[in-house]
């Protein structure tokens, strides 16, 4: 038990590791195995799965669903950027100008999450309905003819268009962007800002040189927390989308639940994870904040 004396913290990892093993590593291994199976159906409609290193599950499905993959990453990227642009000023104001209202303001950010995710999204169906106030107002302002021209909407409607799906994704994941940004902004030492101003930086420069760099861990965490689930999301596209806005999550969902084609669904899920890992690795390298990358 010499090692235990040297590293007394290791046993503390046990519950976490056990949790990960049961709910992450084992399912991943099962899924990897499944993704290389072949499915056949007998005359009784009974499906049979045989493991035969069927790599065509990957090649066939990737080539068949590349447009849904591309769309997922595109939608998630736009939603992440949009969420960032909305969340940063919001988190900034709460952190620096919130004063005694800080907690209340934070509560308001989280308040929508007391409503079920599905209900929130379904509510958008009503908000964006073809003859809703929102739609007719935007149409009267001729904004919809612009989005029509851009291909974000069709026939001057919002529901069942890419704009509806991307907006709803942005909305649904906004809190995941706001909270990490708030935390990183909130702990910035005000004296550093004062020092930069004392050293003749103007407000913009102080923000660019001090505030923003110090909030990077929050930016990093917030974008990942938004981008990753947004890429795999299928509810928004299902409820607010059309056949042309189907994302890879919709394909995986239908492969699992409608086709019961578990090998194809597993292969698609693995591919999605792999691409995401590569993206995140590159992103971490580029943004490279010490706190995140050196852990």
């Amino acid at each position: 038990m010499n090692w235990l004396k040297k590293r007394p913290a290791y046993p503390l990892l046990l519950p976490g590791m056990l949790w990960l093993a049961i709910f992450f590593f084992i399912p991943m291994a099962v899924m990897l195995y499944k993704s290389l199976e072949t499915v056949t159906v007998d005359l009784n409609y009974q499906q049979h799965f045989t493991f035969d290193w069927n790599f065509s599950n990957y090649t066939d499905n990737i080539s068949q669903y590349k447009s849904q993959f591309a769309r997922s990453f595109l939608y998630a990227a736009i939603a992440t950027v949009a969420a960032f642009l909305i969340a940063y000023p919001l988190a900034y104001v709460i952190a620096f100008r919130g004063g005694r209202w800080k907690n209340l303001l934070l509560l308001l950010v989280i308040a929508p999450f007391f409503t079920n995710y599905l209900i929130r999204t379904l509510a958008w169906q009503t908000i964006l309905a073809d003859n809703s106030v929102v739609t007719s107002t935007l149409d009267a302002m001729h904004l919809l003819s612009i989005t029509d021209a851009l291909g974000w909407t069709q026939q001057s409607r919002l529901l069942a268009t890419p704009l509806a799906v991307v907006s709803a994704i942005t909305y649904n994941y906004l809190a995941f962007m706001v909270l990490p940004l708030y935390v990183s902004l909130e702990k910035i030492d005000q004296r550093l800002l004062e020092a930069s101003l004392d050293l003749y930086a103007n407000r913009v420069k102080a923000f660019m040189k001090v505030t923003f760099p110090l909030s990077l861990p929050g930016v990093f965490a917030g974008t990942l927390l938004t981008f990753i689930p947004a890429t795999g999301d299928y509810i928004n596209a299902e409820i607010l989308g059309s056949p042309q806005t189907r994302m890879i999550g919709n394909v995986i969902q239908s492969k699992f639940l409608i086709f019961n084609d578990y090998p194809a669904a597993s292969a698609l899920s693995f591919t999605l994870m792999a691409i995401m890992l590569v993206f995140i690795a590159i992103y971490a390298k580029l943004l490279g904040t010490e706190e995140v990358t050196t852990v």
Partner: protein
Amino acid sequence: MSTDGHLSDHDRAAFARGALTRRELLRRAGIAGGVVAGAGLLAACGSGSSSGATGGAPSAGPVSIDKTVAPSWTFSNWPLYIDTKNKTQHPSLDLFDKKYNTKTNYLEDIEDNESFFGKVKAQLEAGQNIQRDIVTLTDWMAAKWVALGYCEALDRSLIPNVEKNQSSALRGRSIDPQDQFLVPWQSGFTGIAYNPKLTGGDLTSVADLWNPDFKGKVTLLTEMRDTLGLVMLQQGVDPAKCTVDDAQSACDYIQPYVNNGQIRRFTGNDYAGDLAKGNVVACMGWSGDVVQLQFDNPDLKFVVPDKGGMLWTDNMMIPKNASHPYNAHLWMNFYYQPEIAAMVEDWVNYICPVDGAKDALLKNDPSIAKNPLIFPPQSTLDNVHVFKALTPQEDLEFNQAFQQLIGG
């Protein structure tokens, strides 16, 4: 919701002789489909491959059932498919609960046969209880459950009303020749629903859905047999005899309308909301839904397309290893009283499988009897078709083509 079988010439002749009532004829049409399904089953049994470790052949006799009423039980059905008062109350179920001193947990969680099956399949396969005591599935899916051994055999001695009042045309169907597993809930049509105020005129065929004025305001159904069935009929193909090539050509026919945005979405029952809100002006839909929507919006219309509509039956069945089979039997028996069936029918407005319900209904709500969607005229009956029973291989290929169409 679509169906296996076809309306045979024999049945039509019998009707002409007056040997069959109009309604019987209609019901009979819902049945014959099983002939093909039955053949498939026989073939499967013949080859001796009862296959899956947990699935396998249907169990032979009724299991002995504990005859105590459970304090609660669960009934899964499609949305808008039972009498409803004040949005949340179901008078027929309330009467049942009161009579047997139980609590019915009524779930409207079946929006689509395939996705419901997908949701519970793994549990059924593992021999687990799916926490539902009755599920209501369309013929072809019900046939699949019977083939896979995923439903409990009924104890006919517990359901004398079914024995007495089940429409003769729905007895001994080849998907369940001994009436061992299935008790019909409702039959109905698939056709075109539209709002003439918004379309600016009447629609008569599937081709009318492609009017450029309706761009982005048309929906089709995620139920493959309904959508492809109507399109095949439009193309002059009989869905009772279709091939994989026919399915592909039906998909190819629809594809351009998906690509150019004519088709807004593929839906389950949720087309009802879009149609009522005016998001959609015309869509493929189910007859009884539209009759219900008409109460709120009398403008809405339903039409069986001139080149033919689809006909189907939904069936109650007890999933394998259900916890409260006795309550399920009691409910089936309770529903098969003409007065109770009439209560449901008066609201649901599909085609009722319970003999005598029509008479009970005529007494209380004669206007229903005049509704051609509930008591259809001969011309409509001549014009409805049933989807053939697909072999597992066809099932796969049809679905692949169709899923590709609706966006993967």
